[in-house]
Symmetry: C2
Subunit: 342 residues, 2 copies
């Protein structure tokens, strides 16, 4: 692990995207999302994801020039076609449009279809909260885990994001519907460790904390067993129905890479427009105090609400540099044309 | 276990509610929700819950005469005050109003505050789907489990409902944010069995499948460990913020029985109004076929989507009578004034 100044990280990533065919401004925005993900400690969808995004640009799975097109608007509900443009840009556009609609109607809903990987979903929650808005958003994905009671992978992990603004630090949840990501399985296996809690079934159908056994069986566990399995199915069909886009079973048929062709929902509320802004701060501060005041299992640390630890990581990285994996950082510098500097 | 004809079940429950002070029509509707819960196999919030609801009526925790009052409407968003009326009636009113608003605006949102226990949340999902609408709804509750990393109970189990209509059988998810309910722990303990998967921590902080040990420690597990803990916190504050009602930490202070004073959200979509009705049937049928076609762990049974088993149970109970616990059935008959008939 090395430390890289935030700005250097963002600039380098932007260079890789430009060299892969993205226009200046779009490369800059995409780079910011990736750099901020690493800065917030979400390494899987930050720097570490850059080589694959560059590969997708080269393969034409993501069209760097495509922009979302409005299909229809009915009151506060708008349907956009992402035209397989960069998922981060499409999702940012959808978020911003949902916020606009919310300012007008109290609620704003954008259903985005035919888009590509949005990288770190939580980014759109932070974005909305920074603008004083509430956001509920989710995406469907290709399948990556078995439905409950099945052995073959037919449901996605369909990340769900919920964000509520708070002056003292937003509350932001960003959760996928698998108990662990395949990335987490891999890093745990490479460290020769066991998962802290069971993460799937092995080939014999026994619940296990051994990451390698789960990678081999691909029987990764839905979060909360049958519960996450059910929730991920509903998130999938809701996204596809409301956007008139593809559901997991159709994305599987496309088979064009991670999340290519997926459907996403962005539901924004404007507390000011709804007249509940002041009440909101009371509620959220009260919750934070209550949860933080829990008796902790670990005497060292307070019990936290979603998003609380993110701000600490962000502050640390902005002060001392963002933690990066040496090998991946070198790979990305080469993609940025900085190989000679190494 | 005995079997009771559906109509006899509903009529008997209606009698108990009338005798506890509810008007004829309201008693009938409340009884239908309870009887239908048992008929669908959700015994915990059907017949089994009747004695407690009657007790709440007698204690004045639920006001049988109160009706929801509109606090405000902004576009497709309406805020209702439930005035601590019967939670089932308040939630049914909120659902119906959300469906109306959705017919007009594409989406309709009702935020209901100051209400009481809605019993089986899934009922409102089935209700919406029967009318061809999509529903996302949730409630907050008093605290009943520790946040992740805590030992004392400070978060609710905040049930979440999602429903999508389908001609061949609706897709309806009804999940609480604890891995198991306390009711499940109790029935498992009484049968001297272990939970199928770990359900909490014992007093020593060890993950366990022993229901009695979890009842004693009250360290019931959030569904998916840290994930359900985060999700339940967000559902809580969203419900309280949008309804300008109480959050879990405030409901705890009230301490007036299960869910008294809680906040609820009802988000309805009208697929016809949004022009996506036909697409919806394709998506949902495609999902059902895909999930049902999974390789099952149990060769005997197909892998199912949420709601699929409910219809089978309902059909069985309508044909052969609803399964009831003998002792509770006798208790409810006595509450209905039928003791002499026994």
């Amino acid at each position: 692990m090395a430390r890289v100044r935030y700005q250097e990280l963002e600039d380098t990533i932007a260079d890789t995207f430009r060299r892969a065919g993205m226009a200046e401004e779009k490369a800059r925005i995409c780079a910011r999302f990736h750099a901020e993900a690493s800065c917030d400690g979400v390494y899987s969808h930050g720097l570490n994801r850059v080589p694959r995004f560059v590969e997708y640009l080269h393969k034409g799975l993501v069209d760097p020039k495509a922009e979302p097109v409005r299909v229809r608007q009915i009151g506060p509900v708008e349907v956009l076609d992402g035209q397989r443009g960069p998922g981060v840009l499409n999702a940012a556009t959808a978020t911003d449009r949902a916020l606009e609609l919310a300012s007008e109607h109290g609620v704003g809903i954008v259903a985005l279809r035919n888009t590509t990987h949005w990288m770190r979903g939580g980014a759109f929650g932070w974005r909305a909260a920074d603008r004083g808005k509430i956001l509920i958003a989710w995406t469907n994905t290709e399948s990556c885990m078995p439905a409950w009671g099945a052995t073959d992978t037919r449901v996605g992990n369909n990340p769900l994001v919920m964000a509520v603004p708070r002056a003292k630090g937003h509350v932001v949840l960003d959760m996928a519907m698998s108990q662990y990501s395949y990335g987490k399985l891999q890093t745990t296996r490479l460290k020769d460790q066991q998962l802290p809690y069971p993460g799937g079934f092995d080939a014999q159908g026994v619940l296990t904390s051994d990451p390698g056994a789960i990678e081999a069986s691909r029987r990764i566990l839905p979060t909360g067993f049958w519960k996450g399995s059910g929730l991920t199915i509903l998130l999938d069909i809701l996204a596809a129905v409301l956007s008139e886009g593809l559901a997991t079973h159709q994305i599987d048929q496309l088979d064009q890479g991670s999340c290519t062709g997926c459907s996403q929902i962005f539901i924004a509320f404007d507390p000011e427009r709804l007249g509940s802004g002041e009440h909101m701060q009371e509620i959220v501060d009260g919750m934070a105090e209550y949860v933080n005041g829990s008796d902790p299992v670990d005497p060292a640390g307070p019990v936290t609400y979603p998003g609380q630890n993110t701000l600490r990581t962000r502050q640390n990285h902005l002060e001392h540099g963002v933690e990066v994996d040496d090998g991946i950082w070198q790979e990305v510098r080469e993609l940025a044309g900085q190989a000679g500097d190494a």
